[in-house]
């Protein structure tokens, strides 16, 4: 009897064992390791000292540079979210309500860039924004400017544009999904009760699409916040982001404990943002 229930339990556990194992090995264990490292330190010979110390966190708090970089990363991520929403929401709206028979084509057009390598797209912006790039050449040819515009490349501007380009689909898709879920009678009902189209949008469509907006914005924000390549390829010293700092600490600086501490701080920020947006989303969903 007992053996058979044990067997039954084993049989139900067996198929889920590999994914659990995967998560334990490649997610949970590294995080634990990261957490441990963040309380260790390195000596002057770059040997890791395994005594528990808060020195890394104190160093982070007392060195303004780290705070500056974190704030800059948040600011860039926020700009990307705003830009992505400004571009993505109207596109999603059109896709959901007015695209008609071109819907599928347009939908594909939104998704296709996701298939193209991140690197290729980042380099494309380099080609566009460079001193002898597409944009500057055009501006010079039009005599709109005498000298190539230098702020285009190696600036937060370039990073924001590139990240927006890359993460717009992550905003469009959830917004389309939430717009398509709105019953069409609600729009008719709103119009029937005397609401002009813009009133229907502000009072019915926008509030009901907020869950999609929140999840899309969360995607774009977190992915941008932790981005490493765009600032590396297109950003100058003025647009170093927190992921670059982590990469340096683990690489050139060879200070794994400090790098781990920065990573833990990033993780805490991400978890905090996620918990807030999830709560928001749940509230809107039930309301």
């Amino acid at each position: 009897m007992r053996a058979s229930t044990f067997r039954a339990r084993l049989m139900t556990m067996l198929p889920v064992a590999p994914p659990f194992l995967w998560i334990a090995l490649f997610l949970f264990a590294p995080y634990c390791l990261l957490f441990c490292y963040s309380f260790w330190s390195v000596n002057e010979f770059q040997i890791i000292q395994r005594h528990i110390t808060l020195a890394n966190y104190l160093h982070l708090l007392t060195t303004p540079l780290y705070l500056t970089v974190i704030l800059r990363s948040l600011r860039i991520a926020f700009s990307v979210v705003v830009l992505s929403l400004l571009l993505g929401y109207p596109l999603a709206y059109f896709l959901a309500f007015h695209a008609g028979r071109h819907r599928h084509l347009l939908y594909q057009a939104v998704i296709v860039p996701l298939w193209v390598s991140y690197l290729v797209r980042a380099y494309a912006w380099k080609v566009i924004f460079g001193n002898e790039g597409v944009l500057n050449t055009l501006l010079l040819w039009l005599h709109a400017t005498q000298h190539p515009l230098g702020f285009l490349l190696y600036s937060p501007f370039a990073v924001i544009v590139t990240l927006t380009h890359i993460y717009v689909p992550f905003v469009v898709l959830p917004v389309v999904a939430s717009l398509e879920k709105i019953p069409r009678e609600l729009l008719e009902s709103s119009s029937d009760l005397g609401a002009r189209p813009w009133q229907t949008f502000l009072r019915v469509v926008l509030p009901l699409s907020l869950p999609g907006v929140i999840s899309g914005a969360t995607f774009a924000f977190l992915l941008s916040f932790g981005d490493f390549l765009a600032p590396l390829l297109l950003g100058g010293p003025s647009s170093v982001m927190i992921a670059n700092v982590v990469a340096n600490l683990f690489g050139a600086d060879y200070n794994w404990p400090l790098g781990a501490a920065v990573a833990v701080v990033i993780l805490l920020i991400v978890v905090a943002i996620l918990s807030v947006t999830q709560r928001l989303e749940r509230r809107w969903r039930t309301a």
Binding site: P183, S189, S191, D192, G194, L208, W284, A287
Partner: protein
């Protein structure tokens, strides 16, 4: 015996002076090659409870959507108090709709739902509060004002949807099968409430339903739609007692359809043969089950007697519905009050005057064989 459809019934209280409240003029609607409505003309009077009755695909909902402004007519005009509204967007038309699915805004409380129409038109807060509370009171939902749609039952949603439309004092209220999602008992209760509310407010209601008993129960006038055309319109009693066509006779209530042929003023229909003062030719007659007589049958002229076997009996409480077999190819239904007859074969009868001569909707060249 009457063959003509009744004249259009006037509105409930107001006289027929001046133009109709709502006038539908030769309205047609096509979706692509599919003609859904074909030159519909209809006047709706002030304070009238009008029902658009028809099966699915008859065009009744499309007609309602044309009046509301969700669809554009392919041809024709719609006038409200003499002014064209068919060229205006839905949000400018002083008509409001109660949707089959209620279409309450899920992110707004009952109060905010009801306040929506006033709020988008920029009415003041105090005015909105008074009016919304009054409207919610009318449908007995005032204690639910702070609830959300997901927290109330189907019947309550129905009431909120009603209040939400009525709070704007529409000239005409459109109701698109509003009761079809409710269970049977609640439905009858809501029919009474709707009717009472409509009388109290004096607002013209256009009610769409596929349920003929619902239509008969609550309407001042029924417009029966069939394949995008008006089959017949009239007061419930008239349309029931004097169906104009075979379709109308079958759709409204139960009806025995008897086809036959008239020669020299004598109708020969299946086993029956009786004098009928109409032109020679094929005929179709409707006989309601309740006009069938059994038991004591008066012996007077104009009564047709026949023998029939009772094949089946359905007990409905106050009355029973019998299936009679008069001949191998002729079955009729009879409604009998009280106790049903015990003998299997017995005598039934009907008055010739109770037969309703129907228009031949589809030509039937073949003769029924004579008895």
């Amino acid at each position: 015996m009457s063959t003509q459809p009744a004249a259009v019934a006037p509105g409930a209280d107001s006289g027929n002076t001046g133009p109709a409240l709502l006038r539908i003029e030769n309205v047609s609607k096509s979706f692509g090659a599919n003609k859904v409505l074909e030159s519909i003309s209809l006047d709706i009077e002030r304070g009238e409870f009008l029902t658009l009755l028809g099966e699915s695909g008859s065009g009744k909902t499309t007609l309602l959507r044309l009046i509301a402004g969700f669809e554009e007519a392919t041809e024709g005009r719609i006038l409200l108090e003499g002014e064209r509204i068919d060229n205006q967007p839905a949000y400018r038309r002083p008509v409001h709709t109660v949707f089959q699915s209620y279409a309450l805004f899920p992110h707004m409380s009952v109060f905010d739902n009801a306040a929506y129409g006033l709020s988008v038109r920029g009415h003041g807060r105090d005015e909105i509060k008074t009016k919304v509370e009054m409207a919610l009171g009318k449908v007995r939902m005032e204690t639910f004002a702070s609830r959300y749609p997901r927290e109330i039952s189907g019947g309550q949603k129905q009431r909120v949807a009603l209040a939400r439309a009525l709070v704007n004092s529409p000239k005409v209220l459109l109701l698109d099968e509003p009761l079809s999602a409710l269970d049977a008992n609640l439905r009858v209760e809501m029919q009474h409430e709707l009717k009472q509310l409509q009388r109290e407010l004096g607002i013209a209601f256009i009610f769409v339903t596929h349920d003929q008993s619902e239509a008969l129960a609550i309407s001042d006038r029924i417009v029966l739609l069939h394949r995008g055309r008006i089959e017949q319109s009239g007061a419930p009693r008239e349309i029931y007692a004097r169906p104009r066509t075979v379709y109308a006779a079958n759709f409204l209530g139960k009806s025995n359809l008897i086809r036959g042929f008239v020669t020299d003023g004598v109708a020969n229909c299946s086993i029956f043969s009786f004098p009928l003062p109409v032109e020679d030719g094929p005929i179709a007659l409707s006989l309601r089950p309740e006009v069938m007589m059994s038991g004591v049958i008066p012996s007077e002229p104009g009564v047709v007697r026949f023998e029939a076997e009772v094949v089946d009996e359905q007990f409905h409480g106050a009355a029973s519905l019998l299936r009679l077999r008069c001949s191998p190819d002729c079955e009729l239904m009879a409604r009998v009050d009280g106790e049903a007859p015990r003998e299997r074969v017995r005598t039934f009868a009907f008055r010739i005057a109770d037969c309703v001569l129907l228009e031949q909707d589809e030509p039937r060249p073949q003769r029924t064989e004579r008895p």
